[in-house]
Symmetry: C2
DNA sequence: AAGAAATTGAAAATCAATATCAATTAGGAA
DNA sequence: TTCCTAATTGATATTGATTTTCAATTTCTT
């Protein structure tokens, strides 16, 4: 976490940007736990510590983190969600009931995707794959 | 195509809804070709025939078609796109340059997706998979 | 032909995200 | 440390896609 903040500060310095109280707070709250947060959710957490933080500042800070490769923007459903960037590519399982998000990797699927692209003479750049269903807990609920 | 319209009319009658000039026009334009149209694009086509058709009516008619299973809403990027519903599930390849959309089916990928869900104790309901890249034509352009 | 109920189009509302702008703040230079 | 300029902030306005509202119009059953 400290390393993330110092990496960001380095990035800021290089770009002639400034480190601010708000920025630091938002970033440290973002990196506290590995989750998939919406702007709204992060704002809520941040405001527990500093009432005055504005909407736009959270948007701007997350864009900053995304630009310097520390965060990744995912567009599931309604609002975008941001996750910590990882070195490995992964996709997501999403519970339709409680919203739980599970990350997974599957090389065999990736390979087949590449095959599909070749067959259709597409040069694959990236993909989006989301599996929607019910997690164990929620599936249980529906059977009571 | 005639069958689609009569299917829709049957649906309308069952629900106590009415068949109108606007509705008929929008539906028949929608089913003219198998494409992935935005509301905007469909509106444009429809207005070539009837100037006065409103924005909201196209939205409403597409929702109607979606509800009765004749159309399918896809949420790629900016605006939603609607396709004719088909009996087989499929996913999409999308060109990042020209926007070309190619449909594909791949049972092996579907099977692996089901496996991933099982492993994570999710009950799979549906999924979204989009492969983004450059189609043959556009890839060519980038190498000139 | 009449009347109730649905539909239409225009404009307003909504929702997420971005841009604007005056006031504030950060941080290098003096 | 103090100054100064450029960056940042928060509030608000704006955008773009979609939905809702509402009065006027149209459909369809009787």
């Amino acid at each position: 976490m400290e390393d993330k903040i110092s990496l960001l500060n380095k990035h800021l310095k290089e770009k002639g940007l400034k480190s601010t109280r708000q920025r630091d707070l938002i970033v440290s709250e973002f990196f506290k736990r590995h989750q998939h947060l919406t702007v709204e959710e992060l704002l809520e957490r941040v405001r527990k510590i500093d009432q005055g933080i504005g909407y736009a500042t959270v948007y701007r800070t997350l864009r900053l983190l995304t630009e310097c490769g520390l965060a990744f923007k995912r567009e599931f459903g309604g609002s975008a969600r941001f996750e910590h960037s990882t070195d490995h590519h992964h996709d997501h399982l999403i519970c339709l009931d409680c919203g739980k998000i599970v990350e997974f990797e599957n090389d065999r699927i990736e390979k087949l995707q590449a095959e599909v692209c070749q067959k259709n003479r597409f040069k694959l750049i990236n993909h989006k794959m989301e599996l929607y269903g019910y997690c164990e807990k929620c599936h249980g609920k529906h059977h009571e």
